[in-house]
């Protein structure tokens, strides 16, 4: 009996091992519907050297990245994750414009581009080519036409994350190397939410990721590129410096040099390895398992990388608008926030620089409070309109003393007195995403700072899944702390957030004058005049304290110091915008 049992146990163990082995082969072609044949990718195993010296010799680098992707067609709702851009799309799918380390647009696959109130005219570079499974195919206007047709929302079945801008184009035509996109004519009443038309101010963002129309025509747009960036036959396709040679779900990507890119990459291969935990990422770069960290989660655990020999740590203020919204609508528990003087007292009572220094410590590195609600401090058109409300405890206290009764006699960190103003106590609920430790710390600091001037903050953290849905978007809050993320720093995304009755104006701020200026800016083709319109609106919003900007959350990268050419970027591209320039120090 026993001998039989142990034999059976041994057989079971072998069966389990074999099952594990079979199941663990993550690169088997996914058989789900509509995906073009992906088998060639699955077979393209990477033989990446395991030592830094070996990788240098083979002109290869491995970077760590925290999130896996759901697919590489980033225009779809399923897959519109920044991670997808980092580990493949930014390097593979290029277009008319790219964004540099200063956060500015520059021409990429086009040699000229001009926009006016009629439309946009592009001239495609003569040396712009697709790599299609080893074949060289010219980028043509047909690719622009295909991209527009798929992204403008007219194909209702396309599950797009956004049609912004493309739905304002009425037609796209091409002749030779010239592409002409013509804006839709607006009716007498101007554009509406149901009928977007006319000039799109953030026009440089359009066609920034071109789709190869010649290779994808006839395929279901919702099903392409689920596990590859490839043509209908599963062959890799690219118009960027690299092509996606292999993707292993849960593990990462292998990008290989595209020999037909107009500016050939200096490296032969870049691998992105998925390491979801930022502490593990730190150990991985210390131990030479990876050569770089692509935008790791920003936190104090990254601090040791500043002094790790052979590692360069870099951070730039990213396009993250970390801010406090004060509810002016009917669903606030306390109507006092509608009073401008109360909003002034709150902002004057918050030491934003102190928050930055406390939260980020040695990683704060010259990070200053953000003083605009429409532009970022790193942009040339930035104006510090909110600087007039920089921390001034005495001034805040004086305002409260003027309008309220029963508060402390002087600013005092230990006071328990709370002002009563127009019959309402100066007590406000403060909400944030409970799982976010940075915001929990921010709340604690703000609570202490406001307590000392007689304003009571009641901490009300909400779980992530209800924070936006049941509270922020419904306007059910007094004060909330969260961030708006901008892909490219353009203010057009703020239109629906700050204008009267905007779709995402959850805090119910309304200034007709500011709304009109923003609407003007949305339709202004001249960049200087456009910036003036948006800054005009910002000045009004600052005067009325539409929001409390806190700071731009830093966007970090870390890489081996002998990997040259790496440059950080405040937008969603992070360091991936110029991978063709990366090279090992000889």
């Amino acid at each position: 009996m026993h001998r039989g049992f142990w034999t059976a146990a041994a057989l079971a163990a072998v069966a389990l091992a074999v099952a594990g082995s079979a199941a663990a082969t993550g690169a088997r072609p996914a058989a789900h519907l509509g995906t073009p044949a992906a088998a060639p990718f699955a077979r393209a195993f990477a033989h990446t050297p395991t030592t830094v010296a070996g990788r240098k010799a083979k002109l290869t680098t491995i970077w760590a990245e925290e999130q896996d992707v759901n697919g590489f067609n980033l225009a779809l709702n399923c897959c519109a994750a920044t991670a997808g851009g980092w580990i493949a799309d930014n390097e593979v799918q290029h277009g008319a414009f790219n964004i540099n380390d200063k956060g500015q647009y520059f021409m990429d696959l086009v040699s000229s581009a001009k926009a006016d109130l009629k439309g946009i005219t592009y001239t495609i570079r003569p040396d712009a080519y697709w790599y299609d499974g080893g074949k060289k195919v010219a980028v043509t206007p047909a690719d622009f036409v295909y991209t527009w047709q798929e992204l403008n929302g007219s194909i209702k079945s396309n599950d797009l994350v956004s049609t912004a801008g493309y739905d304002q184009i009425g037609s796209v035509t091409g002749k030779g190397n010239t592409v002409t996109a013509t804006w839709k004519k607006c009716p007498a009443g101007g554009p509406t939410a149901d009928n977007p038309c006319g000039f799109y101010a953030n026009w440089q963002s359009l066609f920034s990721s071109l789709y190869p129309g010649f290779a994808l025509k006839g395929l279901d747009f919702n099903s392409i590129w689920a596990n590859c960036i490839c043509d209908a036959q599963g062959q890799p396709i690219s118009n960027g410096p690299f092509y996606l040679a292999a993707y292993t779900k849960g593990q990462g990507t292998v990008l290989k040099k595209n020999p037909f890119f107009y500016k050939p990459a200096k490296l032969e291969e870049i691998d992105f390895k998925l390491i979801p935990d930022s502490n593990t990422e730190v150990q991985a770069i210390r131990g030479g398992e990876v050569d770089g960290l692509m935008s790791p989660t920003f936190g104090a655990n990254l601090a040791p990388l500043q002094s790790t020999p052979g590692v360069t740590f870099n951070e730039v203020p990213g396009y993250f608008f970390e801010h406090l919204d004060l509810q002016e609508g009917a669903k606030a528990t306390n109507p006092l926030l509608r009073a401008p003087w109360m909003r002034e007292a709150i902002m004057l009572g918050i030491d934003r620089q102190g928050i930055i220094n406390t939260i980020y410590g040695p990683l704060a590195k010259g990070l200053k409070p953000l003083e605009s609600a429409v532009y970022f401090a790193t942009q040339s058109v930035y104006k510090p309109d909110f600087a007039q409300w920089d921390y001034n405890q005495a001034k805040a206290f004086a305002i409260l003393k003027k309008h309220c009764t029963g508060g402390p006699s002087a600013p005092d960190p230990n006071t328990s007195s709370v002002w009563t103003c127009s019959g309402y106590p100066a007590t406000f609920q403060f909400s944030w995403t409970a799982s976010n430790p940075t915001r929990a710390n921010q709340e604690a600091i703000i609570e202490a700072q406001l307590k000392s001037i007689g304003i009571k903050i009641v901490a009300t953290p909400r779980t992530a899944n209800v924070f936006f849905g049941q509270y922020v978007s419904q306007g059910v809050y007094d004060i909330v702390d969260f961030a708006w993320v901008s892909p490219n720093g353009d203010p057009s995304g703020y239109f629906e957030i700050w204008r009267c009755n905007g779709n995402q104006n959850y805090h119910h701020y309304c200034s007709k004058k500011a709304s009109d200026l923003m609407a003007k800016g949305q339709a202004e083709p001249d960049p200087t005049k456009r910036a003036a319109d948006w800054n005009g609106a910002d000045a009004i919003m600052a005067q009325q304290l539409a929001t409390i900007p806190l700071y731009q959350r830093p966007s970090p990268i870390a890489y081996r110091s002998d990997l040259l050419g790496v440059q950080n970027n405040p937008g969603q591209e992070s360091a991936s915008w110029n991978v063709e320039d990366w090279h090992w120090k000889s």
């Binding site: 009996m1 026993h2 049992f5 091992a17 594990g20 082995s21 199941a23 663990a24 082969t25 993550g26 690169a27 088997r28 789900h32 195993f45 033989h47 990446t48 395991t50 030592t51 759901n70 697919g71 399923c78 897959c79 519109a80 599950d159 797009l160 994350v161 956004s162 049609t163 912004a164 292999a246 292993t248 849960g250 593990q251 990462g252 990507t253 292998v254 691998d271 992105f272 390895k273 998925l274 979801p276 935990d277 593990t280 990422e281 150990q283 991985a284 131990g287 030479g288 398992e289 779980t463 899944n465 209800v466 936006f468 849905g469 922020v472 978007s473 995304g493 957030i497 779709n503 995402q504």
Partner: protein, 322 residues
């Protein structure tokens, strides 16, 4: 025994249905996954509302559970609520990775645990016994995350100091490859397996020691010794074999628990396994992915419970199945 097995399988069905239904209710009540989408400034209202109907989010929880159940059988656990991707291939992949680590960890823990347990029992109250008793209690007491981080830092520092790569500290392979069984894969899964093995070793060694001491004092062992059978044979043939019988149950239940995913270990070592899959999907409130994970885990636990009972009966002739 066949009747007993069939009856147990039939009992397992309502248990599985009840456990999945309760899980479905709790996760559904935790919040509306669509609401996270509202934070996306580019989300179209049309799409936002379309999600309601596409995933039957407008229906009551029992009705949605029924739709989910339908998906389990007709579409192999259905598709992710957030990504619309099929769930089954992902689960198979992560289960495979977890299986590799768990087999290695449990194998190691069993071999060491049995060896140490036997020696501790035979040499009761010796220095060896005291040392390994202490180690076992340390294994029980050490928080997994701490042990995992400790191993990670230790092996990184060994590499930095002596430039010797013994084990890797992250992922399943160097670079990105699909190699399943290779030295490189072994070097990658060694530390997570070691972390799990140390904890299981503590359990097994204490269990074997106690079981051995129980059997050593039995009349039939005394009889065997009186008959002049060499001590090595008494221990190996009479004591150990009988002491190992209850270990089967413990090992089977422990293995099924580990197959559900070592959440902390897999997170620390960035392993694309069951535990990590569960944590990320739960964080995103991806209801159908979480349900698929729970259903598979519940199935594994029920299956291993049944197997443990059946094997126990096979090994111990005193057990009879009615």
């Amino acid at each position: 025994m066949l009747n007993y097995a069939l009856r147990r399988i039939l009992y397992g069905v309502p248990v599985l249905i009840l456990s999945t239904f309760l899980s479905f209710c709790f996760i559904s009540l935790a919040g509306d996954p669509r609401q996270n989408l509202l934070a996306n400034p580019n989300l179209s209202r049309v799409h936002y509302h379309a999600l309601y109907f596409k995933y039957h989010l407008n229906a009551s929880i029992p009705v949605r559970y029924w739709y989910w159940l339908e998906d389990v059988f007709t579409h192999r656990l259905g598709r992710s609520l957030l990504t619309s991707q099929p769930i089954w291939p992902d689960l198979v992949r992560v289960l495979g990775h977890t299986l590799q680590i768990v087999i290695l960890a449990d194998g190691l823990a069993l071999v060491l645990g049995i060896a140490v347990g036997v020696l501790s029992a035979v040499k009761q109250y010796s220095l060896f016994d005291y040392v390994f008793t202490t180690i076992s209690f340390l294994g029980f007491a050490m928080p997994t995350f701490w042990l995992a981080l400790l191993l990670q830092v230790l092996f990184t520092n060994i590499y930095l100091r002596w430039n010797v790569r013994i084990f890797y500290t992250s992922g399943l392979n160097s670079g990105v490859s699909a190699d399943t069984w290779s030295l490189d894969r072994l070097q990658h899964i060694a530390l997570p397996a070691l972390t799990l093995a140390i904890i299981s070793f503590a359990l097994y060694s204490r269990f074997v020691r106690a079981a051995m001491l129980d059997v050593i004092g039995s009349d039939y062992v005394r009889t065997a010794r009186a008959k002049g059978i060499p001590e090595r044979l008494v221990i190996g043939r009479h004591v150990l074999r009988n002491a190992l019988i209850p270990l089967v149950t413990v090992a089977a239940l422990n293995l099924s628990g580990l197959l559900g995913g070592a959440i902390i270990t897999e997170t620390v070592f960035s392993i694309d396994g069951m535990g990590y899959y569960f944590v990320t999907r739960l964080g995103q409130l991806d209801l159908y992915a979480v349900m698929a994970y729970l259903a598979v885990t519940a199935f594994i636990i029920i299956l291993f419970n049944l197997l443990a009972d059946l094997v126990y009966g096979l090994l111990d002739p005193r057990i009879r199945y009615d």
